[in-house]
Every structure is written in C-alpha cells, then in structure tokens.
C-alpha cells in the first residue's frame, strides 16, 4: 500500500471511520496471519492472534503517532499476541514443508526433486532446533521477508540486535547443518 494512502486510511480510522479500518484489515490480514502462524505454529491460534491484534490495534489507534508507518506498528501487536499464545500453549508446533507433489515441477528430475526436498527438510529441522530468539529472527527475515525495521518491531528488539542476532543465528544454523 502506498504510504500516503495508508496514512489517509489510518487518519480516517482514528477519527472513527469503520470503512477505513476495514480497508487496513483487508490490506494486512494475510501478512498478520502469516506472522502469527510462523510464531504460534498453529492455524487456529494464528487466526485468533491476528484477529485479537486487529481489535487491539483499533483500540490503540488513538496512541498511534501520525506519520509513523502502520505496518511495523501492527506487526508488533500481532507478534506479541502470537508469542503470548505460544507461551500459553507451552509448546511450539514446528513448521512443515508442503507435500512434495505440490512443489515438484513437471519435467524436473525426480531424483533432484527428492534431494532438494530432503535438503529443505534438513534445513527446516535445523531452524526449528535453534533457540527461540534465533529461530524467530530467521523466520521474520527469511520466511516472512520482513525488513530489519519490521523484524525489530515484530520481535520487540532494537534494529542493531536484529543484525547481530541474524548473524549469530545463521552461524548456529550452519553448525547444525555441518
């Protein structure tokens, strides 16, 4: 969404325009759900977390600073909700790969496909074995393609910490795979 269009919608939503807030929900619901899902690891929990996050964001619109980007602010709320559910659940449901049949392209060498799938499975298992803080930063940066600023907002850490933690997590992941 264009920053100016987003700013207009946020301003209208702050003044109590329900249609404007609904436009923001429609624009960000997929991202919110994906963020919640990769953190909580469960679709039902993710849906609830994303929904709660939007309701909380609506309630907190009065405290939102005009001119600030809405997306990282929303991601902070979504990630908090998802982390709270993960904590309450007491366990983390690991991410999985889609069924091989779905990503084996037609005409591809079946053996190469199997090898690639095995490699991906190994990599995913290694990511899930990392400590939570390392796993989350990699998930945000590489699985969700969030910027450093958005990752910092989602995880509630400084941008510099995102850099250092990403570096450390990649090194640990490399060790896991060795």
């Amino acid at each position: 969404m264009e920053p100016s269009a987003e700013e207009t919608l946020v301003e209208r939503a702050r003044r109590g325009d329900p249609a404007a807030f609904e436009s923001l929900v429609l624009a960000y619901q997929t991202l919110a759900f994906r963020v919640a899902f990769v953190i909580a690891g469960d679709a039902a929990e993710a849906e609830e977390a994303a929904q709660d996050a939007f309701v909380k964001a609506h309630r907190a619109l009065g405290r939102f600073r005009t001119g600030e980007p809405f997306r990282p602010w929303l991601l902070t709320i979504v990630a908090n909700e998802a982390r709270n559910r993960r904590r309450a659940g007491g366990r983390r449901v690991a991410l999985t790969l889609r069924a091989a049949a779905e990503h084996g392209a037609a005409g591809e060498d079946p053996e190469a496909t199997v090898l690639a799938t095995e490699r991906r499975e190994r990599l995913l298992v290694a990511v899930e074995r990392l400590r939570e803080s390392d796993r989350d930063v990699l998930v945000c940066r590489y699985f969700l393609d969030l910027s450093e600023e958005e990752t910092a907002a989602a995880l509630g850490i400084a941008r510099g910490t995102v850099k250092s933690r990403t570096h450390r997590a990649l090194a640990r992941l490399q060790e896991e795979l060795a």
Partner: protein, 215 residues
C-alpha cells in the same frame, strides 16, 4: 546474500502455511460490539449521574434509591418514600395547535386536543381523561425526572420499536424548576428526536394503543 540465506529464502516458498482466513468480518463485529459496550457503559454512567441528580433534588423525601429506569429524555427512580406532592395548577401558556410550537406536535390518531399549552420546557396537549407532554431531548433542562415507590409497577416497554417506560402507580413528576407534582399512570417513550409522556388512568395496553397511534 550467502548460499545459506538463499536456501532459507527458497525454503520459505515451500513451507506449509495455510491460506489466511478473511478476518475483516470478525474484526468488524468485535469492534462494533466493543463500541456498543462502550455506549452502554456511557449511558449507564449518564443514568447514574441523572439518578444522583434526582437524589440530590429530593433531599426532603430522604428517599433511598432502590432502582432506576432510564430513557434518553427521562429517568425514573424507585424510592422507598415519595416526597410531599403538590397538585398541578396550570399546564402553561395556551397556544394554537399549529404554528406556535418549535417542532410539529404529534397527535394520537383522529383525536384533536381540547387545549395545547407551552410550558415546562415542552408542550402539553390536553384530551378528555388524558394528558400528553412532548419535548425535544436535550432542549435545555427539559428532562423528565420521576420518582415512584419501590412497590409500584414500573417496567420497560417497547413502543413500535422505540424504548419506553410504563409507570403503573402513583408517582412524583419533577419538571424543570418546579416542585414534585402528583402523577397517575404514565407512559414515557421516545419517538424519533422527541420524548413523549402520556398520563391517563388507564392500563398499560390502552396506553400503548394510544402511543402507537401517535403520528
């Protein structure tokens, strides 16, 4: 980007992430519910303020508030003791039925009042055995306040989808600036921007029939 980072990016495309459900309707419903709850809370607070105002307005009665009923333009509180009541002496300044009121007066179907009076922040319409009082909400101190005995029959009613209160017992009527007056059975209800009060020695069903015929 290192090969490992490229592999992570590639992995993202192969993750089993369910399609996002549509959240807009659920969020909208919850936001509306919350707004409604806040409005109800605000109304409850306003009602509390109104009740406290009544309590302070009738210190002579030393009445204990037992319960209250609230409409946009009127509050009825149940008390354990009514204040000393004075009979009504006048309804106000006589005016013609049309043209002199600040809004179009509503009339029960096919009935013309015997007299129309401007007073007490609204308009009185006098019929045989029936008094109708009409006022616009928020028209500066034109809020009705009533105190009824806790043992009396007071209930919320529906008048063609608009909220109303029925007082099926003798009660005290407080009008702006005046002493508490004795009143018989009364039905108070909202009608668009107006609040109407019908007073007559009738049962609820008859009062509702008259109220529903008002146009």
């Amino acid at each position: 980007m290192t090969p490992l980072e490229l592999e992570l990016r590639d992995l993202a495309a192969h993750l089993e992430i369910p399609t996002s459900p549509s959240l807009a309707a659920a969020v909208r419903a919850r936001v509306v519910r919350r707004r409604h709850r806040r409005r109800v809370l605000a109304l409850a607070l306003a009602a509390c303020v109104a009740v406290l105002a009544i309590a302070f307005a009738v210190p002579a009665s030393r009445a204990s508030l037992l319960r209250f009923f609230h409409l946009r333009g009127a509050t009825v509180s149940l008390v354990d003791k009514l204040p000393p009541l004075t009979p009504r002496l006048t309804l106000g300044e006589p005016i013609p039925l049309r043209g002199a009121s600040s809004f179009r007066l509503l009339l029960p179907s096919e009935r013309r009042p015997e007299g129309v009076y401007a007073g007490d922040g609204g308009y009185w319409l006098r019929y045989p055995g029936l008094l109708l009082f009409e006022f616009e909400d928020g028209a500066g101190g034109s809020v009705l306040k009533k105190a009824a005995l806790g043992t009396g029959k007071v209930e919320y009613v529906d008048v063609d989808g608009e909220p109303g209160i029925w007082i099926g017992s003798r009660h005290a009527l407080y009008l702006p600036g005046g002493p508490p007056r004795a009143s018989g059975h009364a039905l108070i209800w909202q009608h668009g921007p107006l609040t109407l009060r019908l007073e007559a020695a009738v049962r609820l069903e008859r009062a509702l029939a008259v109220a529903r015929s008002v146009r």
